[in-house]
Every structure is written in structure tokens, then in C-alpha cells.
Symmetry: C2
Subunit: 309 residues, 2 copies
């Protein structure tokens, strides 16, 4: 392995995509600079210094939470406990330990406490693709907490690999609306909806994992048992094999999309109205969350059970 | 293997992408219907029944030539003999035999007779990517023959696999101009330039090969020795692995692009002027062909040596 590009010290990582190796100290510096650059370039913190970070307990969201705190932002965590056995127990524990060690604020919303059932059961009852159901539920609950606690910005740990795979998937099916909305910073479109930001878009999985290791951040590496066979994994493999053959491909592809490709896709203007059941902003008469919960035989109006750690 | 979807007879091919197997007779019917559908859908023969088919001697162009003749078009062949040893000798022989057997008209343009040197040497002297140099030279010479012989339409054997790989490559580098121009039928943009059509875009390599075998059409299966390591092959592998996992992906991706994706890319209007050296239409002062030939120390104004078989 090459020596650190900055100080010629012992390297911990050698990045082919940017053609540079780093020692511990300079890797952390590099990582935070990439996060900071994304925040600035896409004007993610235009609304102030306060942000709610969606934390699953995995390497990406834990690295994101730590990086935002390290960069001086008021980054509070929100963990949604999906109630999926050991997977969820370990995920939650990781978040709680981080909050305790760093003295950070963490909200935990428990699915079981709120609805009396877990994500596995909800997915089963709706008979829909699990990642799609889970995404809808988590997004909805996040917005509830945002409103309750008064946040204006939500940050998620989507990284370069996630975004590249999603872009490829959206292109393969020519989802013009999704293409128009795929951006690292989406401003709020309604007084009750937060801006949504993805500060890790310049960093890959290998980098978020190494950041956690180098900084001694605990994370839970288990794969979600409901996500097995997800097509997003097919696209990830595919982009990774291309990156192996042509290093830098992911960055060129994704950043090229945001600089040149995306302007060609203009989404339809979306008109938001109040959901007939819960009153939350939606494009339909009844929002997707309420429809899914009804299909699962669950009262969508149950008051979210949020504890603060 | 499943039986023929039409007559339950002995199958020769089982297509996962369209979920159908065919016997010899019904595969030929299917193949010609796909060609006919592409010709109609993209109005390829709007200018009449006469077309010049660029034939390399490989399975795609030989299948194309045969299919166009079978569908009743006045399809004459043009083979450009690149002078690359056995590869070119076999390629040319295949075309000449087909013309003799089918009583079709074939023009052969010899690079060595015209310029005193072969494609290998031209590529070496220009120090450019071989497929790019070869493409430029072949396109230029094709236009010369088109003008000499009075054709208005040139057909090439680009198939579903070629087009899908090219689309992916253009997306990965966000070549907006290339994306705007990637279409199965490009009308003439200048009185001296032909319309360019790709009637095989609904059919993959597996299908063009099977068509040749079933119809007893000889083709030369050798890989071009200059194309080794071409990046287009990387994209082809990638799309094939995706097609294996999700049959029908190629068709959805490519046809979706032409139906929905492509309208988002509007190429810059191109202004054509006469090349300062050869007088052919070009966007630059001196056309790329003349510049390449000059770099190779070859007189670009040499009169193309065309023989008719």
C-alpha cells in the first residue's frame, strides 16, 4: 500500500477512486472535508445549524452523525426501532451508546410501542416489497418527529454507493420523476415538511466504515433480514464491478448527473393537500402511509411513542 | 427447453427476454417481424425502398442484409476492406459469397488500394483509440460511396446489445450530445449525407447469430484484433449480467429511453460547413477524417477504390 499522500505516514486506506492513500489523522481530515464540501456545495445548512440525523446504527449513519457533530453542527439523532429481533435490538443499542458517550441528544421511536407490531409483520400484512413499505413508514414517522420537535432539516446517511445504485436503477426504468428529485439537498416543499439532505454523497461505504473504525465509533454491521434479495443490491454489485475496472467511475457518473444530466429532467410540479385521514401533506386523497397501515389492519392515527435519551 | 410458442414444434431458441421459444420457421418469422416493426416504428424507409447496408461479414450485418432483402427492400451491400490480415480476408470473402449466392449487389472499398496502407497502420500512426479512428474512417468512406452511387439511406447492423451498451456508456459519462443523437433512425442533416438507420435494434446478438444459422447464412465470427480491451465490451458484460438476473432489462432500458428518456436531451443544433481540405460536410474547419489522415501522413484526397461484385 502507498504511504499517506499528506505526511508519508503509515496508511490506513488507499483510495483508487481519488488516487490517494491516507494515514489515520489525514483520513479523518479528508473525510470531514468531503462532508463539509457536500454541505457547502449543495447549501445543505442554509436554514441554520440544527439538523435531525436519521440513525439506523449502521456505519453510514453513525459516521454521518459523528461527522456533523465534529464539524460543529447541532446534530440530534432519531432512531426508529423497527422491532425486528436482534437486528433492531443491536441497532438501537449502538445509537444509545453513541449518544451517551458523545453527550448527544437522541430520540427513539418504537414501532412496537406505537402500533403494537413490528416492521416484519407490517410488511407481511401489506404484501408489498419490504424496503418500499419500510421506507414509507420511516419517512412518515420522521416527519412526525420533525414536527413535534421543531426541526427544519433531516439528514440521512445515503452514501456515494447508495446514490449511484439508485441513479442506475432510476435510469434503467426511466423514472423521470425520481430522476428530477434525486439530489443531495431537497428544500422543504411544505411548511410541515423538512428539507432533506445527504451529506455523505461524496464518500463510499469503504470510507464510512473506515471512518468508524479509525474514530472508534461502534456500529452494527448486520444486514436487515427483510432486505434480502433487494434489487438495489444488484445495481450496487454492478456499479462496484465497473468501479473495479475503471476507478473513479462512480464519482464521474453521479457528480456528472448532478452537474449536467439532472438538469434535463424536470419533474412535474407537485401539489400537496392534506391527507383525508391523518392530515399530513400528500399528493393523494389519503396518504400512502395511511393506506399501508389500513391494509395492515393498524390504526394510522396512533400517537408515535418517542423517548428521549 | 420449451416447445415453439406458435406450433409446439421442436424449438431452436428460447428467449427469456420476451418469454417465448420458437421453432426454425417461426423464429425466422419472429425475427423478420422485429426488423419490420423497427423499420415502421421509426419510419426508417420514409425515403423509398433503396438502402445501402454496411456489411462487415459478421453475424449482425449479414443477418441484416438478408432480412432487408427478405422483406423486399432493394438492399445493396458495402464492405470496407480494412486490410487487417486474415480477419479482413475472411470478412470480405463472406460478403462476396453472400452477394454471389443471393444475386445481390455489393460494393467493396479497399483501404490498401486507396491509401496504400491498412487500418492497423493508420491507428498506429494516429496514436488514437482504434475503434474511434476506425469508426471515423469507415463513416467517411461510407458517405463517399453514398454520394458516388446516389444512395439516400445507410443501414448498419447495430443490435439491441450494442445500443444498450452504448446508452449505458453515454449515461455514465453524461454525453448529452451523444444521448440526443442515439436513435434508430437519424434523418439526413445535409444534402450530401444519408439518413442512418439501425433496423436490428429490437434483436440481440443471440438472435442475429441464430438467424444466420437457421437460414444457412455464412458469417465470419472472428473478433477484430484491434478492438481488444475496448470499453464497450465492459458495458456489454455489465448489461448482460443484469439481463441474466432480470430478463427483459435491456429492452425496457433501451425502449424506455427512446419513448421517455431521450426527449429530455436536446442536442445543440449543429451547423455544417465544407471541410477546408476535402469539401465534405463537417462542424470543424477541417474534418476529423482529414485531420486523422494528415496525422498518419496519408493524403486524405486519394480517390476511394471501389469495386462492384
Amino acid at each position: 500500500m502507498r504511504r499517506c499522500v499528506k505526511c508519508k505516514g503509515e496508511p490506513v486506506i488507499d483510495l483508487k477512486s481519488t488516487n490517494a492513500a491516507f494515514c489515520e489523522e489525514h483520513f479523518i481530515e479528508y473525510f470531514l472535508r468531503q462532508v463539509g464540501r457536500a454541505v457547502e456545495k449543495y447549501k445543505m445548512m442554509a436554514g441554520g445549524q440544527q439538523v435531525l440525523v436519521a440513525v439506523s446504527g449502521g456505519k453510514d449513519s453513525m459516521a454521518l452523525w459523528d461527522a456533523l457533530l465534529s464539524l460543529g453542527y447541532e446534530a440530534d439523532g432519531l432512531h426508529i426501532d423497527l422491532g425486528i429481533g436482534e437486528y433492531s435490538r443491536k441497532s438501537r443499542l449502538v445509537c444509545e451508546k453513541f449518544a451517551a458517550v458523545r453527550g448527544a441528544r437522541l430520540y427513539v421511536l418504537s414501532l412496537v410501542d406505537t402500533y403494537g407490531t413490528n416492521m416484519e409483520e407490517i410488511v407481511r400484512r401489506t404484501r408489498r416489497v419490504s424496503c418500499s413499505v419500510c421506507g414509507t413508514v420511516k419517512r412518515y414517522l420522521m416527519n412526525m418527529v420533525v414536527q413535534q420537535k421543531g426541526y427544519r432539516v433531516v439528514a440521512t446517511g445515503h452514501n456515494l454507493d447508495d446514490e449511484t445504485a439508485a441513479l442506475l436503477s432510476n435510469l434503467f426504468s426511466w423514472q423521470e420523476g425520481y430522476l428530477a428529485r434525486q439530489y443531495p439537498c431537497l428544500p422543504s416543499t411544505h411548511p410541515r415538511l423538512p428539507a432533506r439532505i445527504k451529506p455523505l454523497v461524496r464518500l463510499g461505504e469503504q470510507e464510512t466504515e473506515m471512518y468508524c473504525r479509525v474514530k472508534g465509533i461502534e456500529f452494527w454491521a448486520g444486514d436487515c433480514p427483510l432486505a434480502r434479495g433487494a434489487t438495489s443490491l444488484v445495481y450496487k454489485d454492478l456499479v462496484n464491478s465497473l468501479e473495479d475496472k475503471m476507478p473513479g467511475t462512480k464519482r464521474r457518473f453521479l457528480f456528472g448527473f448532478w452537474e449536467r444530466g439532472r438538469r434535463n429532467f424536470t419533474g412535474e410540479p407537485v401539489e400537496l393537500k392534506d391527507c383525508s385521514l391523518c392530515g399530513q401533506p400528500t399528493t393523494a386523497d389519503t396518504c400512502l402511509f395511511c393506506r399501508l397501515m389500513q391494509k395492515a389492519g393498524i390504526n394510522p392515527l396512533s400517537q408515535p411513542q418517542v423517548s428521549q435519551v
